[in-house]
Symmetry: D2
Subunit: 142 residues, 4 copies
């Protein structure tokens, strides 16, 4: 099963007075991983997507469960794969794994390919859509 | 139906190169509204909760749908109410309303009352639990 | 002496594992105060400045001294005034005052009126420049 | 001259509606670089410094000049070196270099070794102080 993974260090600036990752910082890290997936795996940075194709990839829907805390100094892995690719959306699952592959956080999210002015949806560029399908989990259809 | 509302201005620092609110900033604003609800409506700031009661209120679960974009300069209202109060959790619904009461974003979230070291759940302080029930939506049980 | 003041609450999301405001959050709050000054006192929001005048107000230079910590739950006042107005720059002093008018943080900053594409400086719109002068500290020249 | 360098990508979440890095994000990145310097070069993470030594390293003073903009998708280098080491402070210079070694941003900052409760200064742990001196610029004294 093809997956995209990124290691992240839980930093001082991510943590709160209880020493635990503050959840808006989680969403910043999640967005970084999605951004790197576009850039490194799909061959299309957010800058090029916006500047040359005139489209963005805003979040339409997200469901996140926080199962175990991430603490200052932890090293975790963000593991991304794809559950569905459509003409103008993509559904992703992202797991955050701590020591010994403990699942700390899970997110299911849907990104929308939207015109820059947010006036409506737009098809993904073909090369992007093709590469997204390479990250489909086994048993998922596109 | 008792609700807790806060007005927010969509600021320069909330918006991305497409002029739209960047979603991690939404979660920062959401947390501010929840923090103000504890402080102003439940009579218990996060600082006192942590410092005097030794508990925090981390997010356990959240589902968010982004239905219409928030843009630089928009004035929106965050409207919070409660769908369920349990001994050590509370389920909230938060709507973000734009001009003319258009629903832009909806979140359903569950906060957990957790010991400061995150070793386990802990009952809400009684006064907090009592006041939370005052924000229950009609037809919801606690 | 005309000043522009804003109250701020030091929030959970502003503070670090030591319970002290994390300094990048200070700069977020500082920018909010400057943004409100443009919006409320100078009659020109950043959105209108960018969208209608085609200019932004990026930071050119800043000097900040942190003299006493801001802690979770503190209520502080940001006090802004102007030390110099030029055609395409403005120099500001911002103090952060804690209980009993203790000066916690001081910043001296210079904002530049820059073309949206950052290709060069541009004069402030006349109405903005005129109103800026109303916030000049006594003894300062424009 | 010994220097500590980190590459950074200017991300979607760092940039504003004009496509330029929003300056509070610069201070987040700067703090990440300082944190990595402690962790990787000085052998002392912020977590260990706080948890085992009971001290933090808050910012006392900073002077920053923004000379050229950083844009979405830019790859830049943060270059850190030390100008002075004292018992309970360290003075750093950090340059942000864009394509062709163009200096985009310079910061001069002083970190203070402070007791966790911020009640006063404390000597740097000896191993930290010794390693800091290894990053002193030529011609600087400690």
């Amino acid at each position: 099963m093809p997956v995209f993974e990124k290691k992240k260090k839980i930093r001082f600036g991510h943590t709160d007075p209880a020493g635990i990752m503050f959840y808006p910082r989680y969403f910043e890290l999640l967005n970084e991983v999605v951004e790197d997936w576009f850039d490194e795996a799909l061959g299309m940075s957010f800058g090029v997507l916006l500047g040359e194709h005139g489209v963005g990839a805003p979040l339409g829907d997200i469901q996140t469960r926080f199962m175990a805390p991430c603490r200052l100094g932890d090293h975790v892995v963000f593991r991304l794969n794809v559950s569905e690719v459509r003409r103008a959306t993509v559904a992703l699952t992202v797991l955050v794994l701590g020591g010994g592959d403990e699942v700390r956080i899970t997110s299911k999210l849907v990104l929308v390919c939207a015109k820059k002015d947010m006036s409506g949806a737009h098809d993904w560029p073909q090369s992007v859509q093709d590469r997204m399908k390479g990250y489909l989990e086994e048993g998922c259809l596109s």
